[in-house]
């Protein structure tokens, strides 16, 4: 039986070829944190896996609706104009398309869930993450269904500083907001 294990369109099964989709790491916050970083990705996983998938369930310590954006960085690059992203998101009343160039990738729809009980789901795929001949690109689906804001978002993003293998991914907040205790950040490897 063949295995088609990629992404949120995936279909899979218990095949004779062994597992092609593995849990690599999970960070569950024991206290609030302004950011979460995964390091040494290519050196640790590049030999065994072709693609990575990040699955997050996050919310903020603030109910401020202005906090409804979270960021990510690849390889700790934070210089101006290093990220290009295109987003298509539904706000609950309109569909919006926009392009961004900034110092980080913006997950417009990843947003902040309000209160611990209303976390926002995020699923990000990074293909060919260990390839040194390609720019690092990602696709993400995320959502927020809360009191102060709601959105569902599809996003493509790229680190525009040139071809590079992915060594590090950091998820972070705007301003002084923090991720809450119990928030979950998991990485999966796809062979």
């Amino acid at each position: 039986m063949s295995l088609i294990p990629f992404g949120f369109w995936a279909a899979s099964g218990a095949g004779g070829g062994g597992s092609a989709y593995d849990l690599l790491e999970t960070t569950t916050l024991s206290s609030s944190a302004s950011s979460v970083t995964f390091d040494n990705l290519t050196s640790t996983y590049g030999g065994d896996y072709k693609h990575l998938q990040f699955r997050l369930l996050v919310n903020r310590t603030s109910d401020n609706p202005d906090a409804n954006t979270m960021l990510f960085r690849f390889n700790n690059v934070s210089s101006s104009g290093s990220y290009m992203s295109h987003q298509l998101y539904g706000s609950g009343s309109a569909v919006v398309s926009r392009a961004l160039s900034n110092t980080a990738g913006y997950l417009r729809g990843a947003l902040a869930g309000e209160g611990v009980t209303k976390p926002s789901p995020v699923i990000m795929d990074i293909l060919d993450f260990a390839d040194t001949n390609k720019a690092i690109v990602s696709r993400t689906m995320s959502g927020l269904i809360a009191q102060y804001g709601q959105a569902v978002s599809l996003e493509s993003a790229m680190l525009t500083t040139g071809a590079a293998a992915l060594t590090q991914v950091t998820f972070l907040n705007l301003g002084t907001h923090t991720f809450s205790t119990g928030n979950r950040f998991s990485i999966y490897g796809v062979k």
Partner: protein
């Protein structure tokens, strides 16, 4: 150390038409559930509920393209919609489904070739772990050949 996951928990392929499909006694040891449904139904929709909760506890924001326009709306419902026409493919990512300290967040994509493509974020306003999933057709029946596969993903 890597943990092999994405395990098939249950699979249903209808050999004859049926008004509803239910997954009971769902293993609580995984982090996420992924439900993959390839369905056709006489009514065009399925309506999914968790733990037999048919109250107005399902909130969603939806984005869809119909071929002529792009739309977004939000609403509170007593179920989660499953598009079901011409064997449309719907994939639901049900995050932290076994947690008992948070509402359940769901990301889904419906690919309904005859009518629309849809992305949805939903929240079931209940902190209980999801132990059962029921998917009745909104009206009429799911047709024979419709498939429903439920996977578990470790966290």
């Amino acid at each position: 150390m890597a943990t092999p996951t994405y395990d098939l928990l249950a699979s249903t392929t209808l050999t004859s038409s049926a008004s509803s499909v239910t997954f009971n006694s769902i293993d609580q040891s995984y982090g996420d559930l992924i439900l993959v449904a390839a369905t056709d139904s006489t009514g065009g929709l399925g309506i999914m509920t968790f733990n037999s909760d048919t109250g107005s506890n399902y909130h969603r924001v939806i984005m869809r393209g119909t071929g002529s326009s792009a739309q977004s709306s939000s609403e509170t419902r007593n179920n989660i919609v499953v598009n079901s026409s011409d064997f449309s493919v719907s994939i639901f990512q049900i995050m932290d489904y076994s947690a008992t300290d948070k509402h359940k967040a769901v990301l889904s994509r419906d690919n309904r070739a005859d009518d629309q493509v849809v992305a949805t974020a939903s929240r079931w306003a209940n902190t209980s772990g999801i132990t059962s999933i029921s998917i009745p057709a909104s009206s009429g029946n799911f047709v024979a050949g419709s498939t429903f596969n439920l996977y578990g993903v470790a966290k």
